[in-house]
Amino acid sequence: MTITKTNGSKTVENKKARIALKILTYFISILIVFVFILAFLPGLKYWSWEFFSSFPEDQMTGGGIFPAILGSILLTAVSLVIAIPLGIFLGIVLSEYNLSYIKFAVTILSGIPSVVFGLFGLGLFCITMNMRTSILAGGLTLSLMVLPVISSSVYEVMRSIPRELREAAYALGARKSEVIFDMLVPSVRNSIITVSFVSAGRVIGETAPLILTAAVFYATNLPKNLLSPVMTLPTHIYFLAAAYGTKARWMAEGAASVLILFVILVYTIAFMFRREKK
């Protein structure tokens, strides 16, 4: 019966293809895990209370990364406080009001390189609005940068709301704004939390725009107010890698471990909220 398997059979051919693809996928996956390990483990041995609470000393051969941690937290907070509400509103506009020119603008904005946002922030906030190198300038720049990302995600989330829910809400005689804010948005609360945490992960890791607008290589004091410059974890790692070579490598490794931990934590929380509780 020729529909049985033979040496050159299709079933064997399929198996070969499957194995080849599996090897490729697993190989790349293992490499990815390697990268995570190399980023996280070497720095762990430098973790200590002193490391987290002191300023860098002795040309980066001693001390700790406290100002960088603080700076990262402040900058992230400032930019998210602005970007998340704006992003949610913008996402609502995109999904509930069919204005193609706004969709278009957001799409173009979402593709603009981060370093160009840095240039814009430098020109507008630092110089024209005279904020100099400051948390405020950096925060505003980052919030503009992450705004398209948040609003696109919120747009997708709102779009996925089943039609019946929308229709039921309108059928109750509610106005459009009430339908949106009192019924639709709460129904996707968890997804919006996910989006917020993912954007936090994004902001924590940004480097290029901050080099231009907010970060300094070495701050002698803690930031006094929003108009002070800061150190952040990613910019600190960058400066160490670019300018300091092997003597300061230990500090970059330690900082990298901290940064990765933050990012993994934030993303894990984001994934937890992904499914809406019905």
Binding site: N14, G111, P113, G123, L124, E178, L259, V263
Partner: protein
Amino acid sequence: MHREIKDKSRKALLAISSIIAIAALFGIYYYLIKESLPAIRSVGAELFFSDQWYPVWEPAEYGMRSLIINSLIVTVLGTLLVVPISYFIAIYLHGFASKKEKGIIRRLIEYLSGIPSVIIAFVFLTYLSPVFPNIGIYSPQNLLLALIGLFFLTIPISTVLILESLDSVPRELEESSAALGALPLRTYMKITTRAALSGVLNAIVLTANRIVGETIVVLLLGGGAAMVPAKLTDPMKTLTAVIASEMPEAAQFSIHYSALFVAGLVLVLFSTTFELISVMLLRRSRR
């Protein structure tokens, strides 16, 4: 009354957010153009036709042609490297992997997408860069190293975008192909991919855009030479790297400062082009 106020203020907030988005887009273009003008006026066409980028010499030269070419080289090569591999990974996850495999690997890739570029750059700089002098390559930072870093940076978006496109193809279409006796790989590559084509092309465009806009990876891993690399192991610098590394030192309102804005303008033109292509592709898919 209370209801009225709530309604009005909510609408106001929605309007404000829209205005900010549009203002930001125009603002970025406006500032880039405005700050570029001094350099364009005083340096002129030399900006784009000369390879000599020596902004801190006497006399200073501002030829960014090699920087532009380098940005393009990195984008083309990087995309060519990432997309085929992520395509086949996506095919495996879409059609061959078990649910558990797919979930775990996808989760791993999504975590990777969150790793800051500075950390990826740092890891490869620390562990891979020193290998080059040991095997006889004089430049520890070079195009190849940058491409490797870019690969890990962009594998997540490329894979996830392609995977989502493939997954969105109706199952009946794949079943029809299988019902004719087609092997799964053929079904996925000929039928599913074709049906998801605009999504796959969109993934390519967005990956390219991500690469052209990447700063830290190419800066730390590519080396410092504002020259077009003759081979993969030559160092090179891109538009993004030059902006990030030189702007903090550039005197405000100097020609150097302005020339860097020109670099930013070129970048924005590239990325706008990519995004326009993406918009067209997505419109096509909404047949």
